[in-house]
Symmetry: C2
Subunit: 234 residues, 2 copies
């Protein structure tokens, strides 16, 4: 027996800007429902976690059915990836915004650190990227994603800081330092967000990182070469 489609319950959903050229109304509707799916998915994944957020509840929240979901995404994991990428992109933008304008490497580093610590506080970033990301995407895909978003920022900062002291060091070693700092900041960020007093904890992290960087400077002043350096410190 064919399903009874009932009366057309088409509500205009989102009208969209009328003056937009190039996209038909159909495409606008489609993009709108896709966005709605990602929006609801982000919220439910954040609140309940990946496993506990059922597709039924997601499509219900977006006021569509599974047919729509499987039209736009190949499955639950693909939907999660879309959410993941958006959260990561937002985080990356927030950090880059904090970096904009700063010229001094050390100032950049501090600003970047603060922005990163702020991002790690966001529940959606903690849940979707840090907590569920590795498990759902698998480590390989997870690393690939981070590599070209948040980690890229850290790498850039570390590069500018380490090459500031007229050091020239190998790319491998720079990557290693960036990894170390990235991990340090991630872990520190978590401890900040779960601390009783996050503000004080953030300050402690900042002073600790600053202290480490200060040590770098002291070594540079003493003429100690960076490991893997091809040039000599000033």
């Amino acid at each position: 027996m064919p399903p009874k489609p009932s009366v057309s319950k088409l509500v205009p959903k989102v009208p969209g800007v009328p003056g937009v050229t190039g996209t038909s109304r159909r495409q606008q509707y489609s993009a709108s429902t896709k966005r709605a799916l990602v929006d609801v998915a982000e919220e439910l994944f954040t609140d309940l976690g990946y496993a506990a957020a059922s597709l039924d509840s997601i499509v219900a929240g977006a006021r569509v059915t599974k047919g729509a979901l499987y039209h736009h995404f190949s499955g639950k994991q693909a939907l999660f990836e879309a959410v993941f990428e958006r959260v990561e992109a937002d985080a990356s933008r927030a950090i880059q915004k904090a970096l904009r304008g700063r010229k001094d490497p050390w100032e950049k580093a501090l600003a970047g650190l603060q922005a990163f610590l702020a991002v790690v506080q966001e529940p959606r970033y903690r849940r979707i990227v840090i907590q569920e990301g590795p498990s759902v995407l698998g480590y390989e895909r997870f690393r690939e994603q981070e590599e070209r978003s948040t980690f890229a920022n850290v790498l850039e900062i570390v590069r500018s800081v380490l090459s500031a002291g007229t050091w020239e060091l190998e790319e491998d070693m720079l990557q290693t330092f960036a990894r170390i700092f990235f991990g340090a900041m991630s872990s520190a960020g978590e401890s900040v967000s779960s601390a009783d007093d996050p503000i004080a904890a953030a300050e402690r992290v900042e002073t600790a990182i600053a202290f480490i960087l200060q040590g770098f400077q002291a070594l540079a002043d003493d003429g100690v070469p960076l490991p893997g350096a091809s040039g000599e410190p000033a």
Copy 2:
């Protein structure tokens, strides 16, 4: 209709040491099946991940039924926790073993670092603890577990190193430093295990960490106090 129990297909499983006192044969059998369940679960969780490893496949591998599983564990998550705790405990023991005997804090730090890097290479540790741990256990429980196993080792090392230079610093700040180093080593460890040349990567990590610690020493020699220090450097 009551189930037909068929013929008793009881094979002796594991005889157990006959001379063990205090435990009845029943208890020995029970403990043996429990161990078998955890063994198989560890293997399947490592190879397939938490979600993809079905309870049916686990009980089949252990040659029991779900009745046995639910007699020993309250559910899938509880089984995972048992696996998790064992992997963590093994890792912690491995690190402590590497530390045993070393007296010099710097030597201890290096040995601990090497042991940690070795542990992070193990597939089961990577998969169960790092990858699936936060997602399955939830961040709170995950942190609690790490707090009293692997992280405890790192904390001890950091404490001995930082207090070696006649520094006396606040517990909060020490925790912060330990967190930072723990995260740094975790992240570095991952990059090591996924590198093309893990041995060279491990060496880079060691030199990088050593360089950071060297910076600490340089600052100490220059009379720069550690942040949050109540005492003065020598």
